[in-house]
């Protein structure tokens, strides 16, 4: 098994095909989208491939050590051009191919007009553990 991070971006990913913002959908389309996401997570729990998911608020700050005796330096809220992560899901799957398949499914969540959003999701493998048996 190998763990993968599926990253969803508020900004920074290439534009999706169906990129109408959510507050411009109908309430039914919003509900359908949320239901799709819930069903997806539930299905992965049933197959034993779900690890974790979290959503992040759309504001953030860069913070840096400010030097001896000084307060930390902050830069933010993030400028419009900066990459902005919206949330993630961690999955534990048998193969890279399976991870890609699941990311594709998640990206098919319905948006405006009930059509798939085709959102770009970033798929990142975790480093594995050192094997106990090495020879």
């Amino acid at each position: 098994m190998a763990k993968y991070l599926l990253l969803k971006h508020y900004r920074g990913a290439p534009a999706s095909v169906n990129d109408v913002p959510m507050d411009q959908w109908t309430p039914e389309e919003v509900s359908a989208h949320l239901q799709y996401m819930r069903d997806f997570a539930n299905r992965l729990e049933e197959t034993g491939e779900y690890v974790d998911e979290q959503a992040l608020a759309p504001e953030g700050t860069f913070v840096q050590y400010g030097g001896e005796g000084r307060p930390p330096v902050t830069d933010g809220p993030f400028a419009e051009t900066k990459d902005l992560i919206a949330g993630w899901m961690v999955i534990d799957v048998d193969s890279y191919e399976r991870a890609v398949e699941l990311a594709g499914e998640l990206s098919a969540a319905p948006g405006a007009g009930g059509k798939p959003i085709h959102e770009w999701l970033e798929l990142r493998p975790f480093y594995g553990v050192s094997p106990t048996i090495t020879e």
Partner: protein
């Protein structure tokens, strides 16, 4: 076996150990061991005297641990004999534990964790699950908290207000995980209110009961929020409401108003209305005025603007909102609501979308996004 009943004995058992001279941290560990043992043994071999059983087992565990500790340090000069049980009433011990676990030297998260374990009798694992942190993290938080209060004298009088704030925090944490923190907070507040004659303790208990009564109606099966005005009031828990109202009335009769009683009074007025349209908004505004006098909180002024909007119309609500700091959480959501009531759908939709971006949790974000979507699809 009723686990909540078992856990309700926790503070008085712990109190006995401390009064016998055990230090708080070691006594608390010993009581946890005894609780675990009780859960294992009682189903097949129930004791005649539950509390006596727990005291005996916990005291033995304490002595064993102390001896082991002493042996490690190659010292034998520790407590060895079981002293006679103290004669102090159990109620005092319980109260002292509440004070200790909510001691002002503790951070809010530490006070919450320690209260749930030492007074509530929850295991570290249960508390960790409820707050979605690893068990090892919660274990550290609790043992640091115990070290922090280790120098506090057990018979020192404490501050009821700090205890009430801790219980309020537990109640507001909601319903994640196996442990129902809201019910647990009610149980602990009920126990406190019976141990101390304090109108605000009663006020907090009433407030919790009145809000808890709406729990089933507050969300749809898929987890979406249902606003107060749209809730199916037939699903409100009338027994919980009746109890909350009775406790509140007795507290108010004492004529020592505090913020929890005032908040409970507002919740009681909502509970009084069989349909949302019957809500007595004029009285609710008066209670918000009381609350503003008591706390001077911008959150209260924000909520008051909603009530004014209902009592005197959206224009009056927007006028009341004009004096509120825009950085208060949920300001945009309230502004959106009042603008929609005032007939300005365009501004309301924009404000709902803005409120969704600032929402403090996903359920609210989704709810506010739906509101924006609803108004945008009207156009």
């Amino acid at each position: 076996m009723n686990e909540a009943l078992l856990r309700s004995l926790t503070p008085s058992v712990l109190g006995v150990l401390v009064r016998r001279g055990a230090d708080f941290a070691a006594a608390e560990d010993a009581v946890q061991d005894a609780l675990v043992e009780a859960i294992r043994v009682w189903p097949t071999d129930p004791p005649r005297d539950a509390k006596g059983w727990l005291v005996t087992v916990a005291w033995r565990r304490f002595l064993d641990a102390t001896r082991a500790d002493a042996a490690r340090r190659r010292r034998e000069d520790v407590v060895d004999e079981e002293p006679a049980p103290g004669s102090a009433p159990a109620v005092d011990d319980t109260l002292q534990l509440y004070f200790l676990c909510a001691h002002p030297s503790l951070t809010p998260s530490s006070a919450v964790a320690l209260t749930l374990r030492a007074v509530g009798g929850l295991t570290t694992r249960q508390i960790a699950q409820a707050y979605l942190v690893p068990e090892a993290t919660m274990a550290q938080r609790i043992s640091r908290a115990k070290r922090t209060v280790s120098g506090v004298r057990f018979d020192q009088p404490g501050d009821v207000a700090t205890v009430l704030r801790v219980l309020y925090l537990v109640f507001n944490e909601g319903y994640s995980g196996d442990v129902d923190l809201a019910s647990e907070a009610i149980r602990l507040t009920r126990q406190l209110a019976s141990a101390i004659d304090h109108p605000e303790a009663a006020g907090l208990l009433a407030l919790m009961l009145l809000h808890h009564a709406r729990r089933a109606a507050r969300t749809t099966p898929d987890g979406s929020l249902v606003p107060l005005a749209e809730q199916d009031r037939g699903r409100w828990d009338t027994a919980s409401i009746a109890e909350g109202v009775e406790i509140l009335q007795a507290a108010l009769a004492r004529d020592q108003l505090g913020e929890f009683q005032a908040q409970a009074a507002i919740a009681a007025l909502h509970a009084d209305a069989l349909v949302a349209e019957e809500t007595d908004w004029v009285q609710i505004v008066e209670w918000y005025d009381e609350l503003a006098r008591l706390t001077d909180s911008p959150v209260v002024r924000l909520n008051r603007a909603v009530a004014v909007g209902e009592a005197d119309g959206a224009r009056a609500g927007l006028a009341a909102l004009a004096g509120v700091d825009e950085s208060v959480p949920r300001y945009a959501a309230v502004a959106a609501y009042l603008h929609e009531r005032d007939g300005d759908v365009v501004a309301a939709a924009r404000l709902y979308a803005e409120a969704a971006l600032k929402a403090p949790n996903l359920a609210e974000r989704d709810h506010l996004t739906r509101q924006a979507a609803r108004l945008n699809s009207l156009r």
